[in-house]
């Protein structure tokens, strides 16, 4: 919203020594956010009222003419391209060296062989409007030789752009008068009162229009007046210029004055053509379902039963609080008007505006909960402005003023001590009272005691409790005048967020091992999850997604994560990534769950998928060690549990004891093709929650073994797809003296087709004695025997085959 400083100055005196920058800063720090400001019209002090004394054709160009003008001091001649003027007209003349809007400097110029001593200006060149259709013709009574700044002093102004979001809670700041009141308090100077002048609204005869309000609880107040003997004319220039400066296009006196009142007081108004109101009667009520209204914008809107309308005998004519109707709107032929200023239920207006997709200046204000006590003032101000163009207008009948539900009075009882305590600064009692009074509060009470009555324009939603007064005093006194003060706090035993510390450890280990942390959106869609075999069981679906591909919560990190890997493969094939994040679903019992997962992925150029698997496996082992998760076991995923996208052979489940931590796997070639993955890709999907909550192996000192270990190596023959883990379990179970079983290597011996040879190393150790050959030989025999029992024979003991 644009705010004009001159307009504010209609109501309050502001120190002329203050620069625009200082003033803007004051407003920013004490009132609301100013996004920027512009100083306008400074150049008009150099543009002069000149009278056209001669118009001669340009010798060389049809469309140009040579215009002689009298500038009061001298006679001069300029080349001019416009033709909308005649001898004796007063026009704006910019002499050499004048700087116009847009930093346009007037220099001596020769146009088609004729020298031009300056320029005659159009409205846009002077910043009055966007109009470039000809010269600006000045009023005939203007004095030749005066500057345009003398003629239009209001045009030298400061226009501030207010951030609308910063005043959503301040209905009183949606017009210039509200800003005047604020500055009055900031500078502690008086503000001109908006007094009711009943004589302005005193009518004779019968009102032209009768009004009936139904659904009164949605219409706190409805005020209106009938006026006839009016004509539709252009508004006075200064009004046109003001409206233009704050971003509105002047149209005619009727439209302009309703806009002017809205920008001044914040109260939107509507002017009906009284003669077009069918039945001479307006009914304010909720619309019927499917009601259609042709709006002033010549666009039809359809209403529902919660939208408020103003109807005549022909039906709904106005979408109340949002937009006027075409049929009863003011036209060039209008001779009598009904001026309406109402107060609408803010929530209803917001809903209607959202439903029909129209954000007008009016509804933007009504939805902030405007002060219902200003509707009559608005009507009065409108009639006053109308008299500027129609001095002989006639007010027909009395003011229509229907009051239904005004806001209750608000009284706040507090103390100056409380205010000072909350602010953390000792502010003088008198200053506190003075500030409140300037802001329009009624203040009583002795000493520290404060009994404060809140003015109507601050009580619709803004001010109701002592803390609200703390804000009023703080901002006007200046929050930045408060000296920072260290809070005194008792020392408490620190409580750490262990989960975050755990996350931090994971990030450290994985990034140390070359993995990059990524974030993916927690929102996804069913199609993407179906690609990973998830049905819609337990899914949390959004009612109002922004995009089709983000309409439900993810139940696995994998789909987006695989996408991330695929996208990155376009640039590089060799990388590692990981993501720590929540997934979301509803359990069968209806409980909302947000478990956390950890996914890791490795991509390699291609060569050996197994190598990629083992590299990831090794990194996971390092991670688990750092996380102190012990008793780790890796097993191939059983066929029954394998999901369709998991590689038939290269997929493992990771356990700690009996607790499943997650899986590490490659994808099937078909899946790789489908998802356009290249090279060798493996991913791990682990449960963060299990990792975090599982019992950790604490670091403990252990005495070094007293007696030496003895190693025994065997090479066994077995089917090619035999797992070491199976062998290990058999050997480990053979004797408590087996303290370690390690994998050495495998190879495919030529002489045993379809079999592989696996070498393992077995460590024997006793805690009680040094093992001697008498102990070891039977142990070795036993191990060979249990292996043979399970079908695994020593490679070099041919006799057993």
């Amino acid at each position: 919203m644009k705010i004009s400083l001159n307009w504010i100055k209609d109501f309050v005196q502001i120190d002329e020594k203050l620069t625009s920058k200082e003033l803007v800063e004051k407003i920013t720090l004490s009132v609301c956010e100013v996004e920027g400001f512009e100083e306008t019209g400074e150049h008009l002090t150099q543009v002069i009222v000149a009278e056209v004394t001669a118009i001669d054709p340009h010798p060389d160009a049809n469309k140009l003419s040579l215009v002689s003008v009298n500038t009061g001091a001298v006679e001069t001649r300029v080349v001019c391209g416009a033709s909308n003027f005649k001898l004796g007209d007063k026009v704006p003349y910019a002499g050499l060296g004048t700087r116009l809007t847009g930093d346009f400097l007037i220099k001596k110029a020769t146009i088609r062989g004729v020298e031009s001593e300056g320029m005659l200006c159009a409205e846009d060149e002077l910043g009055f409007s966007e109009d470039h259709d000809g010269l600006m013709i000045l009023p005939a009574e203007s004095k030749t030789g005066d500057t345009l700044a003398d003629l239009f002093p209001d045009q030298i102004d400061v226009i501030m752009e207010i951030d609308n979001k910063s005043i959503t809670h301040r209905p009183d700041l949606w017009g210039h008068y509200g800003f005047a009141r604020e500055l009055g308090a900031v500078f502690r100077v008086p503000v001109e009162k908006m007094e009711p002048h009943p004589e302005i609204l005193k009518g004779t005869g019968d009102p032209l229009i009768e009004v009936e309000v139904l659904a009164g609880d949605l219409v706190p107040r409805f005020t209106g007046i009938s006026v006839d003997q009016v004509g539709v004319l252009p508004s006075p220039l200064y009004i046109q210029h003001r409206l233009t400066r704050v971003g509105l296009r002047p149209i005619n006196n009727m439209v302009d004055l309703t806009n002017y009142v809205m920008l001044e007081l914040g109260q939107p108004m509507h002017a009906f053509d009284a003669e077009q109101i069918e039945g001479k009667r307006l009914t304010v009520r909720l619309a019927d379902e499917g009601t259609k209204v042709m709006t002033l914008y010549q666009k039809e809107v359809t209403l529902g039963t919660s939208d408020m309308t103003i109807c005549d005998a022909n039906g709904a004519s106005v979408v109340a609080g949002v937009i006027g109707g075409l049929n009863t709107g003011v036209t060039a032929e209008t001779r009598a008007v009904f001026l309406e200023a109402a107060n609408w239920d803010p929530t209803g207006i917001r809903k209607t505006s959202t439903r029909i997709g129209l954000r007008t200046d009016a509804c933007q204000r009504f939805e902030k909960a405007l002060d219902p006590e200003m509707t009559d003032l608005a009507v009065q101000r409108a009639v006053e402005l109308m008299k500027l163009t129609n001095p002989d207008l006639h007010v027909a009948g009395d003011l229509v003023d229907i009051k239904n539900r005004l806001y209750d009075p608000v009284r706040i009882e507090t103390t100056t001590d409380f205010i000072c305590l909350r602010l953390g600064k000792q502010i003088d009692k008198d200053e506190i009272r003075d500030i409140l009074v300037h802001l329009g509060f009624d203040v009583r009470g002795e000493g520290s005691e404060l009994i404060v009555d809140v003015p109507s324009y601050r009580r619709t939603k803004d001010v109701s409790i002592p803390e609200d007064l703390v804000e009023e005093i703080g901002r006007i006194h200046g929050f930045n005048n408060i000296t920072p003060q260290a809070p005194l706090f008792p020392i408490q035993r620190p409580v750490f967020n262990q989960q975050h510390r755990f996350e931090q450890k994971i990030r450290n280990v994985l990034s140390d091992n070359g993995y990059h942390e990524v974030y993916n959106y927690p929102l996804t869609n069913q199609k993407s999850e179906e690609g990973f075999g998830m049905d819609s069981e337990g899914v949390m679906r959004l009612l109002n997604p922004v995009a089709e591909h983000q309409n439900q919560m993810r139940r696995s990190l994998l789909p987006h994560f695989v996408q991330t890997m695929k996208e990155n493969q376009k640039n590089t094939l060799s990388f590692g990534v990981f993501e720590l994040g929540r997934i979301y679903h509803k359990s069968c019992s209806g409980e909302l769950l947000e478990p956390s997962r950890l996914v890791m992925g490795g991509s390699e150029k291609g060569g050996s998928l197994g190598d990629t698997f083992f590299r990831l496996k090794n990194d996971i082992i390092k991670l688990l060690s750092k996380l102190q998760v012990a008793d780790i076991k890796w097993t191939a995923i059983a066929d029954a549990e394998k999901r369709f996208f998991q590689h038939n052979q290269i997929s493992a489940t990771i356990y700690s004891g009996r607790q499943k931590l997650g899986e590490l796997f490659a994808f099937t070639p078909e899946f790789m093709d489908q998802y356009e993955l290249k090279g060798d890709v493996c991913v791990a999907d682990l449960s963060f929650d299990v990792l975090f909550s599982i019992e950790k192996k604490e670091y403990r000192y252990q005495e070094p073994p007293k007696y030496p270990a003895v190693n025994f190596e065997v090479s066994l023959l077995m089917p090619e797809q035999t797992y070491f883990e199976d062998i290990r379990e058999i050997i480990a179970a053979a004797s408590p003296l087996v303290t370690k079983v390690s994998f050495l290597d495998t190879f495919l011996p030529e002489e045993h087709a379809g079999k592989k040879s696996m070498s393992v190393s077995i460590e024997f150790r006793s805690a009680k004695k040094t093992l001697n050959p008498d102990d070891i030989t039977p142990l070795q025999d036993k191990i060979v025997a249990v292996l043979a029992e399970a079908g695994y024979y020593l490679r070099d003991s041919r006799e057993k085959e």
Binding site: T168, R422, K425, F479, H500, S511, E517, F561, N568
Partner: protein, 342 residues
């Protein structure tokens, strides 16, 4: 005899000069000092000689023994040194290459910022809390004094689920959950993901990250809030920062503020980064609204406090010169690799 000593010594010196390998040196040692070596031959002759002669020859042999041993030791040391040198010479590698090249990994920039914030706040005695992303209207709005018809509750701002739940639009529900769990005096922070139902552009995303904080005790004031914010920002930006408060509206605080920090790039003169105003809008904060304290089961007539919220994405963007918020999601490596020193 004299002559023979001389001859043996010369022969020894001659041979030693020609030695270039350890093996040859050992051969010489055997030839001259061995049990059957040259010097031993002299000793064999001793029996047939007079005592006087014996002493003389014995003396001569001993002298040579010592001399030869010294020379051989010296030569052995030289050969060793030569050998070390040669071995190292052969062990040349190109130390400027990196054949085991592994890539340094990285933290997500928002994780980096979050860690920094958590560390700072923990050092200042704050407890770090979490909350669910899927929230109820109560925790996200009602308990935070956001009225039933407040526009923030509209479907155009908030993601709703079919069952009436919603995605939290800010981390402020953590305040309520924290107050329910703890008793004052309390100091809590809560980082995390938040969601807004809006179209994305360079500075807006439908999912972003906030860092919430709250301090409650008896008689906490605006002066405390300013002190605290200054200290905290000084720690985050590792320099003395100038801050200012201006009125700002958030239903859960009263009074509410926007906190600006003097632009660190231009020192307040105005630059592109601070949009020429010299100040950066950084934090929404304020004194906790009495209704919010009540919702947290804390008596507002006894306690007061302040609360604040920081956008972590914006902080990360400022800290690392990121100009677009969108690459924070999606994990493009050309983005993430910037957060590891390659």
């Amino acid at each position: 005899m004299e002559k023979n000593f001389k001859q043996v010594e010369n022969a020894f010196r001659q041979k030693l000069q020609e030695v270039s390998e350890m093996k040859e040196l050992e051969d010489i040692k055997v030839q001259f000092l061995g049990k059957k070596g040259e010097l031993a031959q002299f000793m064999k002759q001793l029996k047939e000689l007079s005592n006087e002669k014996k002493a003389e020859i014995g003396k001569g042999v001993n002298r040579l023994k010592v001399l030869f041993q010294e020379k051989i030791d010296l030569h052995r040391e030289e050969l060793k040194q030569q050998d070390y040198k040669q071995r190292m010479q052969k062990e040349w590698i190109d130390v400027t290459t990196d054949p085991y090249q592994t890539e340094p990994g990285s933290w997500h920039p928002v994780s980096l910022v979050q860690q920094k914030l958590e560390d700072s706040f923990m050092a200042m005695g704050f407890q770090v809390l979490d909350g669910p992303h899927i929230e109820t209207e109560y925790y996200n709005f009602e308990a935070l004094n956001i009225a039933a018809h407040h526009p923030a509750r509209d479907m155009q701002d908030t993601f709703y689920f079919e069952d009436g739940h919603l995605l939290r639009t800010h981390t402020s529900p953590i305040q309520i959950r924290g107050m329910e769990k703890l008793t004052p005096p309390l100091r809590i922070v809560g980082p995390g993901k938040v969601f807004r139902c809006e179209r994305t552009d360079a500075s807006h995303d439908s999912c972003f990250h906030q860092f919430e904080g709250m301090m409650i005790d008896k008689d906490i004031s605006v002066a405390h809030l300013i002190y605290f914010m200054k200290t905290m920002l000084g720690e985050i930006f590792e320099s003395d920062v100038e801050v200012r408060l201006r009125p700002g509206y958030f239903p859960f605080v009263e009074p509410g503020f926007e906190l600006d920090m003097r632009c660190l790039l231009c020192g307040g003169k105005g630059c592109k980064f601070c949009k020429k105003v010299g100040w950066i809008e950084l934090i929404g904060c304020g004194m906790v609204h009495p209704n919010v304290l009540k919702a947290g089961r804390i008596d507002p007539t006894v306690y007061s406090g302040f609360a604040f919220g920081i956008g972590m994405d914006r902080l990360a963007m400022m800290k690392y010169d990121i100009t677009d918020i969108r690459p924070l999601h999606g994990g493009n490596l050309s983005f993430t690799r910037c957060f590891a020193v390659q």
